[in-house]
Subunit: 342 residues, 2 copies
């Protein structure tokens, strides 16, 4: 049964079924994906990443709620949430409070929440996420929120799927938490200090500001002719539109700051389109997906060519330290004969 | 220049040079690795993983110090530390206190500390770590401590390099921190509640105990004949030696509980050898490394066969949504001609 037409017609049940088929790597999922792909490219993909304890799940929840209940005069948007986060309420690792808040979204046909277990290969997880994004995109969801726990490079790779990446911080998580963010800050388009009603919000903001300046040398660059000019940053922006990641305060549990965050997301969307960055990010995104799929296919095809006994012989030789790992690879790929003595 | 003989002779400078060559993917590193590999397989690889803020770096530090200054009657062990953790003092993201504590180990020829930046591909990081482990192993380091930040699957993969995996917790890091550990707990051989002088240590222990019972169904299994017997867990252990991950308390900054942790590590080493698990883990470890190297080699070899213009044509078709990602892969691998119109 081809699920693609039902997806394009907006049938929710078909959508849920297709997502499962894709997660289970079934051929039917693949067929539908091929058919749906020409209908993608409309949705705004927004990644939300941050360490456990920053309250990013609540923030995602509030964002979705806001998009569904915007200020007067604005049209509600169709929202999909993909939670790739073992600590997320959407994936079941939640504290009770979050589960209750989630009910704000339950029963709303304009919201679809999909959680993914973060087990197994994270490469595979990024790929499955990319596929789910395509389905939601083709199904007409206008904003797709991708929630990841921002602690490892692999999670950063998932966040890279997004057009706009929000990095969530919280006050008082300690210096170590700050340090771990150095790499993640480089991919941040918007910075949020959530739980901003807690003590230490100023020092967290200051730390983020400092890291931003370290991570974005272009904004520290001084042109010789106006080295003394304290407005040089503004001038540089007038010449070339540069996105300076804003640092926003929110209290997700109260909904404070969420409308400002929605505006920043919308501003970034506009910036991407005005500067041609949207097309560039789309291309990077798709190239990344292509390369990952290529890798998997190459391995699967090679596996089909090698006999189990040959592989076992090489592995045995490795375990017995008769050959090194690199020598084992050479033997397997260059058809080292099983009769060869190591 | 072949560095392998100098490594085997225990020359510290040659060791540092080889590690750099391996990290920079140089041919000289590869040659030495091939020559050193037959001399590996002696070291006890101990992974230490945990979220930022648990104080695992201090614990690693204390462990190394203890191994160098054991109780009377025991011989000091040669210790290597590989820190794969952006928040580690060894990798430079440290708070001042940790840097000071590190000086306990400075100048001791029986300790070698190597830190790795957690940027770039984590797959590559796991592989480089595996290579560094081999060098230390061949160089006669008896215990190799591998410190990773335990938050993502990729970090777990690095922890899988180890024979013995220690998962570090701390009281009061919140429910979300606990939840994220569900996956990591499955690979824990020893659980440590560090900062055990803080409030909440009992509830952290209780949470870990509960998760352990969820994660290890064998220990909850009741045999019909003694369903009422509260000693059935002990009986099951008498029949089949099962490693029950102990939950230990430490205060790394004071050194409290470190000798008990060293004993647990030694017990686990003994358990692995007594039950044949050591050989099994060695095989898994090496198979994992082999498979990762195979994947990289397959991709590199395929890349050398494809023309830039062909790849660009396919990527363009993908970006313009004329073909789907899976169709793009098929075209590239099955020699879809650039003249083919999509």
């Amino acid at each position: 049964m081809n699920l693609a037409p039902s997806i394009l017609a907006g049938e929710r049940l078909a959508l849920a079924r297709l997502l499962s088929k894709i997660e289970n790597n079934m051929q039917e999922g693949l067929t539908a994906l091929n058919e749906l792909f020409p209908h993608t490219g409309q949705a705004h993909l927004v990644g939300v990443t941050g360490a456990p304890g920053t309250g990013k799940s609540s923030l995602v929840n509030q964002l979705a709620y806001y998009y569904r209940h915007p200020i007067q005069g604005q049209t509600p948007r169709k929202i999909a949430i993909i939670a790739v986060d073992p600590s997320s309420p959407f994936t079941g690792g939640a504290i009770l409070g979050d589960r209750i808040r989630m009910q704000d979204l339950a029963g709303d046909p304009g919201v679809f929440i999909r959680s993914m277990a973060a087990r197994g290969s994270l490469g595979g997880l990024a790929q499955t996420t990319a596929s789910l994004v395509q389905v939601f995109d083709a199904a007409g969801f206008e904003t797709i929120l991708i929630e990841t726990v921002g602690a490892g490079q692999a999670e950063v790779d998932i966040a890279r799927l997004a057009h706009t990446t929000i990095v969530v911080e919280a006050p008082g998580l300690g210096d170590e938490i700050q340090a771990i963010k150095a790499g993640i800050l480089e991919i941040a388009d918007i910075l949020v200090v959530n739980k901003a009603d807690r003590p230490g919000v100023e020092s967290t903001e200051r730390a983020l500001q400092n890291m931003l300046q370290l991570g974005h040398p272009i904004r520290n660059m001084k042109r010789p002719e106006d080295a003394q000019d304290r407005d040089d940053e503004q001038q540089a922006q007038a010449i070339l539109p540069i996105w300076v990641p804003p640092i926003l305060r929110t209290v997700a549990t109260q909904g404070d700051g969420v409308s400002e965050l929605v505006r920043a997301i919308s501003d970034h969307y506009q910036y991407l389109h005005d500067t041609g960055q949207w097309k560039k990010r789309e291309r990077n995104r798709l190239q990344n997906e292509l390369d990952n799929l290529l890798k998997d296919s190459l391995v699967a095809r090679w596996r089909a060519t090698i006999s189990k006994s040959e592989y076992k012989y090489i592995l045995d030789s490795l375990v017995e330290r008769r050959i090194s790992p690199h020598q084992a690879v050479e033997s397997l790929l260059d058809g080292g004969s099983p009769g060869k003595s190591f």
